[in-house]
Amino acid sequence: MSGRVDLGRVLRADREILTVLGAAVFALVAILLLGGAGAYAVTILNVVLLRALAATGVVLLTGYCGQLSLGQGAFAAIGAYISAILATQYGLSPWLTIPLACIAAGVAAWVVGFPLLQLRGHYLALGTLALAAIVYQLSVELRGITGGASGITSIPSLTLFGRELGSPWAYSWIIGLVFVLGMYVAGRFAFGRMGRLAQAVREDETAAEAIGISPFGVKNVSFVSGAVLAGVSGALYVHWVRFLDPVPFGLQYSIEVLTMAVFGGIGSVWGGLLGAITLTVLTEALRYVTGVASAEYQALAFGVVFVAVLMLWPRGLAGIADVWSARGRTSDRRGGVPNVSSEGTAEAEVGIGGGALIADHRVTGPIRLQHGDELVVVQRLHCRFGGVKALEDVNLVVRAGEILAVIGPNGAGKTTLFNVIAGAIKPTAGAVTVLGRDIRGLRPYEVARLGVARTFQNVRLFTEMTCVENVLAALEAHDGYGMIRGLVLPVRARQREDAAVDEAHRLLAVVGLAEFAHFRAGDLPLAKQRALELARALARRPTLLLMDEPASGLNEAERDELAALIRSLNASGVTILLIEHAVDFVMALADRVVVLSRGMKIAEGTPLEVRNDRHVIEAYLGEAA
């Protein structure tokens, strides 16, 4: 058991260290090899590394976090101009101005991120496109500061021990070093906590919020990380070329960098570098072979390559490599685990075995409550969608320690009630307090952070992530090192992440998924997906667990196991509110039952009382009964 856990950890740890080592080896070998090949070759190398930095920024934001930015050039331009202006007008050393420019790009991204990252999907793409246009326009218009179209000249180069790093080869050492640093940032992001949160947000924002991830916060970290990489690329460029006008970081730059990231593989930390190498070398080769140096044809080639890659290999070069390596590694990684599609092999583990484990796992919420305290209070709740009255004047109290079931025919408003308590839907009127806090103004992730976890009616997992990553996202949602602390204290951050990995494996064992830890969540059969969703919810150490039709789609045996699991959870101190269609299932399990019909509460009491209630029978069997 522990051996497999360690393997996973080693693999992950290796991938992060491998990223930095690989980048270092690549940079070193390339600089040493090309150093002898003349200034032209080294110049190409410098261009490749600078572009790779900016393209890696695109990978973080677009590939990992799923937010399309068409304006990476804006941040490269900000980095370049800030560094150039500080160095020429204020006489600061480039050693100082480059980090400052880098910070400036990050701060700029952080500030514009507030309005821009509220936008989803294509709105964000257009917002960033407009941002790039505006930065370009400003660099042309603000002649007093940027020198307008004629640019800034005689920008100082970096000096080391009084000697200027004037030659491309001398400068390439600096670029190489910064590139390795950039890959360190990328690796920390991609294989650390932020990467998992970013992927969760990319795959399903609603589910991510339900487990306490702030989508906006995660997007902003991704956006700033990407901008910092672009900013340092721009700043390094400017002290190498020593002249800056608005042209190099115009629209074409944004397009080329995005193309490189897509070509190299937008889902991989190596995508930026692979794309930058391939496309830069191809462009140069094309120029060499045809003797045509015209920018038009180069731009057209980029456009065609960009579209072709999107059409043919959406995952880019790194994606192709991934497929190969995954094929080669699958059996090893799964360590002889039976194939997931052959159902029934590991089924016996669900529930019963889990129930035994849960006792020593001790799922307890952050807040100590007395048995019977009011945990959720819903008062005079009304919910209307247009003309549809989904809920009318519903009162409900959930008491600590109980299993409360909400039942009712289709369209009774059960899920709406659930969504209100989870903060996903704002009530039209009425009050909702959870753990003593009015949650009407809270976002779902804030409600989740109060100690409320939920599962969804239609299972919502992060399907492209592995089981263990799904649970990790919930464990680390707001617990763990942020990007900056993680970069400064990588060893401690990794220790915490490793602890979280162990915890995630334990939780998977609780729900009987220990052997499926490294399977893609989307590959699991439905029953196991439900179990995984439950593990993800438990990772929140919830005080209150909301379960939306947990038994739907399960067979008789699986239901019994689920019921046992719910009971043992409840025994360990979790209050449970569940919605269910399967009346038998509920009657055997719940302490109290609330019946909704057509948005109104028609009965409340023990299962026995409700079963014999005249209104309930009417609602279920129709007026005639």
Partner: protein, 308 residues
């Protein structure tokens, strides 16, 4: 200063309305494509560019009217081919991929135009040369009237098409619920094609009528897309009529801002876009309720501290 403003304001408004008509047509194209396919077509502005360039090209060989028709037909074919090659095969792909594809299409159109027609602005003669109208202190050229008239005509025809024709109804059905539309035998992919062709036609007409006013450049497409997005988003990406009104209003705002200081032109588009998007976010309420809750929580904690 104030006198200059009062004296020039009517002229700015007139030129704002003219440009606003073009933005409106771009916005309507964006809305139609978005309604049916959920894609925000970054290449929409490029259709305007193609319409303008092709009209200028054909006008060298043909009289004006057939030149415009030929330009529109060719642009529609280009739009259809673009859809067929780029969007149709990847119809089920994620939004991210689709918008990147339209962005790629824009890049290709732009660079091909640069290669074919060069970097310099090209002019087209006015449709009906003659003395301009003088209204107060504003000069209204005949071409301006053409722009306004053609826009109005297109919008009316479009409304009739959507309300009266079977194809228009099918498009609306697809826009409101693609699954339901499929169930009654409408193919969403095919409707996507129709929407792209419509959008291309609107763009091409806009390009033809505006070419005599602004000149045609290879890079005008993306700028127009960004400007068209402002009213399109204002209309919630759903209502063509709202997009038209928004387009004209935005055109006026931009013209007045550019009149006050020419450097403001691009800033206005960006600021308007972000402002509208943020206001939209506020209206949907998530951010507002969030902030309200923050204030309330802060007040509560202050109260609690006061009581201690």
């Amino acid at each position: 200063m104030r006198d200059v403003l009062v004296w020039q304001l009517p002229q700015w408004i007139v030129s704002g309305v003219v440009m606003g008509c073009v933005y409106a047509l771009v916005a309507v194209g964006l809305v139609i494509v978005h309604n049916v396919t959920r894609i925000l077509n970054v290449a929409q502005g490029a259709f305007v560019m193609l319409g303008a360039m092709l009209t200028i090209q054909f006008a060298k060989w043909l009289p004006l009217a057939p030149a415009v028709v030929a330009a529109v037909v060719v642009t529609v074919v280009i739009g259809a081919v673009t859809y067929g090659i780029l969007i149709y095969p990847r119809f089920e792909a994620g939004l991210l991929t689709l918008i990147m594809l339209t962005f790629g299409a824009d890049v290709i159109f732009r660079t091909v135009a640069l290669i074919l027609w060069g970097p310099d602005p090209l002019a087209l003669r006015e449709f009906t040369p003659g003395k301009p109208l003088i209204i107060g202190t504003a000069v209204v050229t005949r071409q301006a009237l053409w722009v306004i008239g053609v826009t109005a005509l297109l919008v009316i025809l479009l409304q009739l098409f959507f309300k009266r024709s079977l194809l228009g109804t099918a498009l609306r059905a697809c826009a409101s619920n693609a699954t339901a539309a499929r169930l009654v035998g409408i193919r969403p992919q095919l409707m996507g094609l129709v929407s792209w062709m419509l959008a291309a036609a609107l763009g091409a007409f806009a390009g033809a009528v505006i070419a005599p006013v602004t000149f045609a450049t290879y890079f005008m497409g993306l700028e127009l897309t960004i400007r068209g997005v402002v009213p399109a988003v204002l209309a919630g990406l759903a209502s063509p009529v709202g997009a038209v009104v928004g387009g004209v209003v935005f055109g006026i705002i931009e013209a007045v801002a550019a009149g006050v200081y020419s450097g403001l032109r691009d800033v206005v588009a960006f600021v308007c876009l972000v402002a509208i998007l943020v206001v939209r976010e506020l209206r949907t309420g998530v951010l507002t309720t969030h902030l309200r809750a923050r204030v309330r929580a802060w007040r509560m904690s202050e109260l609690a501290r006061g009581q201690q």
